[in-house]
């Protein structure tokens, strides 16, 4: 322990002495550091978000509702939510499957495939757009045309959200105790039962967490969908494209209202996930 003079036996007393010590040691940044950090975060992150929130309510709550209820805005939000939901669901199934193959299967070039998963995070989104257009756009070598269609949006979003579910399920699968599965199998449980009763409950929080992150990423995505989506109003125009257009024609309140709606949806999803995740962790603690 760090306290050299006394050796308090009580943990609370020990914590208190540690607190006293740390306040005067050199490691911390002190109140000035804390002030600098707070100011920095406020100026860079909070001030712009506060500005857009205030702007969105410039004409009152009624103005806010009118702005997101305008036909084009509502269509853009619905397209965004629908496409993002589809993307999250596909990720739940295929992301889990890929994680499973990467953990339980063994084949040549597996490490290469594993590295491939991270590529969509490293690749700039506009490059993702160009890459997908080369295969599914006007110059497609297989004559597959997804340009300016909703399936095109889904493909682009699947590309950029690929790592979320895979990378959140993978570590849980590695930790999963295979002896339990073997015990269940020796007691005559079928694979389906084992999957439903043992594997799925353990994986569920990780799958949900990954899917939630994929969903929040998808609703705000711009770069990867801007070229392949085409941005046809009420068809393939997503919320981010709508916001960008409204800013361009100086309809700031419209842009701000849709932006704040996107932020709210993202917060609700992330907050729900965090609460669910916390509850699952607590349950595990009680069980253990």
């Amino acid at each position: 322990m760090a306290a050299p003079t006394t050796t308090p036996a009580h943990p609370a007393a020990r914590a208190a002495s540690k607190r006293r010590l740390s306040r005067r040691t050199a490691g911390g940044v002190g109140p000035i550091g804390l002030g600098v950090a707070t100011l920095w975060l406020s100026l860079i992150v909070l001030a712009p978000l506060a500005a857009i929130t205030i702007k969105s309510f410039e004409n009152g709550l009624g103005g806010f509702v009118d702005a997101i209820d305008a036909p084009a805005a509502r269509a853009a939000l619905l397209v965004t939510l629908g496409v993002s939901l589809a993307v999250a669901l596909i990720n739940v199934v295929l992301g889990t499957l890929i994680a499973w193959v990467l953990v339980r299967d063994d084949f040549r070039g597996k490490s290469l495939v594993n590295a491939l998963i991270d590529l969509p995070f490293a690749l700039p989104t506009i490059v993702a757009s160009i890459v997908l257009l080369s295969l599914y756009g006007p110059q497609s070598p297989f004559d597959i045309q997804l340009n300016a269609t909703r399936p095109g949006l889904v493909v682009a979003l699947l590309f950029v959200t690929l790592p979320f579910v895979v990378r959140s399920v993978q570590p849980v699968l590695i930790e999963l105790d295979r002896e339990v599965e073997q015990a269940a199998a020796s007691l005559g449980a079928s694979n389906l039962t084992i999957f439903r009763k043992i594997v799925l409950p353990t994986l569920a929080p990780a799958v949900l967490g990954g899917a939630g992150l994929a969903f929040t990423r998808a609703i705000g995505e711009y770069g990867s969908v801007v070229l392949i989506g085409g941005g046809i109003p009420k068809e393939t125009e997503v919320a981010s494209q709508y916001i960008q257009k409204q800013i361009e024609i100086d309809r700031f309140v419209n842009a701000a209202a849709v932006s704040v709606t996107l932020l709210l949806i993202a917060f609700v999803v992330l907050f729900t996930l965090r609460t669910l995740g916390g509850r699952a962790a607590r349950r595990e603690e009680h069980a253990g």
Partner: protein
């Protein structure tokens, strides 16, 4: 679960086919399209004046954003780990906020705050132009990259604890000496990892930057904006492919650096 050979194989085929169609095939195709007329054609496209100016602007933004993020990132991480204050949970949430905000919303927010009609718009009348100029692009990039350094340095600070720093202080080291000789060497790999992520995201950011850039070719275009304008405005598909390939090579270097650093980091701890 004991799966039959057939089930295992079919799962493998499904996973590899999906990854092949979604990721591998398009990327191979881009490389093929870029180099089908030889390396010279590619080289010509990425050395046009507009391309060189775009690359320099991208690198300039990186060169400004990285040191700022390093300094404020370390201060924030230290405050979060070593400081004991009320509302730490709130500060933690604010640090993660940029991950949950759409790049377009970042750009729109900056315009509404710093733009000529915005709440800090009075700055523009003093001659300091933020939006549709370099400062706006830098603010946008800092916003989206803010969590990286903090989030990579924070766990390392937790890990190393305070004992060594306290020992240094007991031996009469000043705050600065302790920081430079004890804290900084301990967090160096975490910090480097955070910097690599920051560089990659800065080079690749598109949505937030296009909102606040004047978008003039050869002047206020970054590499990602060049890709977009070549494809959309110039209908120069090959030029867009070439610039994309350049960005892709930079991304692959990042991935490689991350893998190497990850091994170093886990070995060190």
């Amino acid at each position: 679960m004991i799966l039959t050979r057939r089930t295992t194989l079919s799962l493998r085929v499904v996973a590899l086919t999906y990854l092949g169609i979604l990721v591998a095939l398009p990327i191979v195709l881009i490389f093929f399209r870029t180099f089908e007329d030889g390396f010279g054609a590619f080289w010509d496209q990425i050395t046009t004046p507009a391309a060189i100016s775009a690359l320099s602007l991208s690198l300039l933004i990186v060169a400004i954003v990285v040191p700022i993020n390093v300094v404020f990132g370390i201060v924030t991480a230290l405050a979060l780990v070593r400081g004991r204050f009320r509302g730490r949970g709130v500060v933690q949430a604010i640090v993660d906020l940029p991950f949950a905000v759409s790049p377009i919303v970042v750009g729109a927010s900056l315009i509404l705050l710093w733009g000529s009609g915005g709440y800090f718009g009075f700055l523009e009348s003093t001659g300091f132009k933020v939006i549709f100029a370099l400062p706006g692009m830098i603010l946008a990039t800092i916003f989206v990259t803010l969590p990286f350094v903090v989030r990579e340095v924070e766990p390392v600070l937790h890990e190393i604890g305070e004992e060594q720093e306290q020992a240094a202080a007991t031996l009469g080291a000043s705050r600065w000496q302790t920081f430079w000789r004890v804290t900084l060497p301990a967090i160096r790999w975490g910090l480097t990892y955070g910097v690599v992520l920051t560089v990659a995201r800065s080079l690749g950011e598109f949505g937030a930057v296009i909102m606040v850039s004047a978008g003039i070719s050869g002047e206020s275009q970054t590499l990602t904006l060049l890709v977009h304008s070549r494809y959309i405005d110039d209908h120069n598909t090959f030029g867009a492919y070439s610039a994309s390939t350049l960005l892709m090579v930079l991304a692959l270097i990042t991935l490689l650096a991350m893998t190497v650093l990850d091994q170093k980091r886990t070995k060190d701890v």
